[in-house]
């Protein structure tokens, strides 16, 4: 019996809203989600920072979120991510050393 079958031998009684709604099936949906999350974080963390006048903190946080959105957009458009670039650069060395 495979794991999936073992988890649900009948196949009908499973009540899992996340499956049924069918959101988040592809990473492209994730990009939208990430942009929304970035906005939410910038509001939730940024407003108190602005109130306390911690502009430097706000700037660093916004930069981080901006980078995140750029990278997510890159993913959406199919550009290689920085880790993939790193991998392309270093993997040959690693493969030469390790089995």
């Amino acid at each position: 019996m495979s794991i999936a079958e073992a988890a649900d031998p009948k196949g009908s009684r499973v009540w899992n809203p996340l499956i049924e709604v069918g959101v988040l099936e592809e990473d492209k949906h994730m990009t939208v989600l990430i942009v929304f999350a970035a906005l939410a974080i910038s509001l939730a963390e940024g407003i108190p920072l602005g109130k306390q006048g911690q502009w430097k903190e706000l700037a660093v946080m916004s930069t981080l979120l901006g980078m995140t959105i750029l990278l997510a957009a890159g993913n959406y458009l199919g550009l290689p991510s920085p880790l993939s670039l790193l991998e392309r650069l270093l993997e040959p060395i690693g493969k030469a050393i390790f089995k």
């Binding site: 499973v14 899992n16 990430i34 911690q54 430097k56 903190e57 993913n75 993997e91 390790f98």
Partner: protein, 364 residues
């Protein structure tokens, strides 16, 4: 300093132990077995030795620059601009490790627990929880590891003891039949994942007894090496190298062997839950280290607003770079050791040498 909390030596040990072991216990054993065959456990031992040597350097630097972590003393040693450029590599490295760790854990959860749930749901929720914990600060993470760490350690040791009767010693023989090359090459593979405990340099200034840094690291690495060594040796002894090297997680397979008189057959789920819990806490301390390091480089008063953005960035790394579990394993196997060796050993030794040559010391 952005972080106001203070930890004690016991917490220091458990935090390091959890970070080392969750990263190493899941995926490393099979890679190591693939690399070094029956001698894999020797790689663990030699990596343990080298890592303790490395810890000496970190502990010494922690005392030479009292109250400073490596992000700060790289600025002290190399000056404002170069120091910052070098210093930012450490937080970024932690972020990378966090991505790897949560990706790996989420994959296991997806295969074992929730095969029908979309992978991203699991990934996002694990990031959310670890960011929540990380934002609460070092003291909270330390206290959580104090509860989870012993649980984790004893659960692994119990699993190992219970499967001990199934070991066939002849599968571990002969040792060193291909010379010492395989286990020597396996050593850096192991060392790089033990080496994540360079995070100790972030904790030393916040420990109530900074001089205990080496002791803490030594105990943590020894426990970690014991656990990983046991898992590696036992998987070879039980499954044989041919099977063990292609297993996704030999530790999990070991736990699967346990059943109580054919009645309770899936005890490994409980073990896995503890492992995943520890992994999430470990990645929250990695996120914390990222936030804290970045805040120190830029000179911020608080690091907490950076935790959620950091987690989001790490999540984007995961999604963009590891579309399948194979990518993550490959990255972990071939690319990560190079990066880790560069950051953990190269950078720190470079800083160490520069500090000696330029005769820089921290303000006492």
């Amino acid at each position: 300093m952005p972080e106001k909390g203070i930890i004690n030596t016991k917490q220091f040990v458990w935090m390091l132990f959890i970070i080392i072991t969750t990263l190493a216990a899941m995926q490393i054993p099979s890679m190591l077995i693939m690399q070094a065959g029956r001698d894999a456990w020797l790689s663990v031992v030699s990596a343990w030795f080298l890592d303790v040597m490395l810890a000496l350097v970190y502990a010494y630097m922690g005392i030479r620059f009292p109250g400073e972590n490596f992000v700060q003393y790289s600025i002290t040693i190399l000056g404002k601009y170069l120091g910052r450029m070098v210093g930012i590599l450490f937080p970024l490295f932690f972020l990378l490790v966090c991505s790897l760790m949560l990706q790996g854990l989420s994959q296991v959860v997806n295969t074992i627990f929730l095969p029908m749930t979309p992978f991203n749901v699991i990934l996002v929720s694990s990031f959310l929880v670890s960011a929540f914990i990380g934002r609460k600060g070092l003291e909270v993470i330390a206290r959580m590891t104090e509860v989870l760490g012993p649980l984790f350690f004893f659960s692994i040791v119990t699993v190992c003891c219970l499967v001990l009767p199934a070991v066939h010693m002849e599968r571990l023989k002969p040792q060193l039949d291909e010379g010492i090359a395989p286990f020597l090459i396996g050593t850096p593979l192991m060392l790089t994942s033990f080496g994540v405990c360079i995070i100790m340099a972030m904790y030393i200034p916040l420990c109530n007894r900074p001089e205990n840094g080496f002791l803490a690291k030594f105990s943590a690495v020894s426990m970690g090496a014991l656990v990983v060594g046991l898992v590696t040796a036992l998987s070879v002894g039980i499954f044989g190298i041919e099977d063990a090297q292609y297993m996704n997680s030999p530790g999990l397979q070991l736990a699967k062997m346990i059943n109580f008189s054919n009645y309770l057959e899936r005890v490994e789920m409980v073990w896995l839950l503890i492992l995943v819990g520890s992994g999430i806490v470990a990645s929250s301390s990695l996120l914390w280290a990222f936030g804290q390091g970045l805040a120190q480089i830029v000179g911020l008063k608080t690091y907490q607003p950076l935790i959620y953005p950091g987690a989001l960035l790490s999540l984007v790394f995961c999604i963009g770079s590891f579309p399948s579990s194979l990518n993550q394993t490959n990255f972990f196997h071939y690319t990560f050791p190079i990066v880790a060796a560069f950051v953990e050993t190269g950078l720190e030794l470079f800083l160490f040498a520069t500090a000696l040559v330029l005769n820089k010391r921290g303000a006492a």
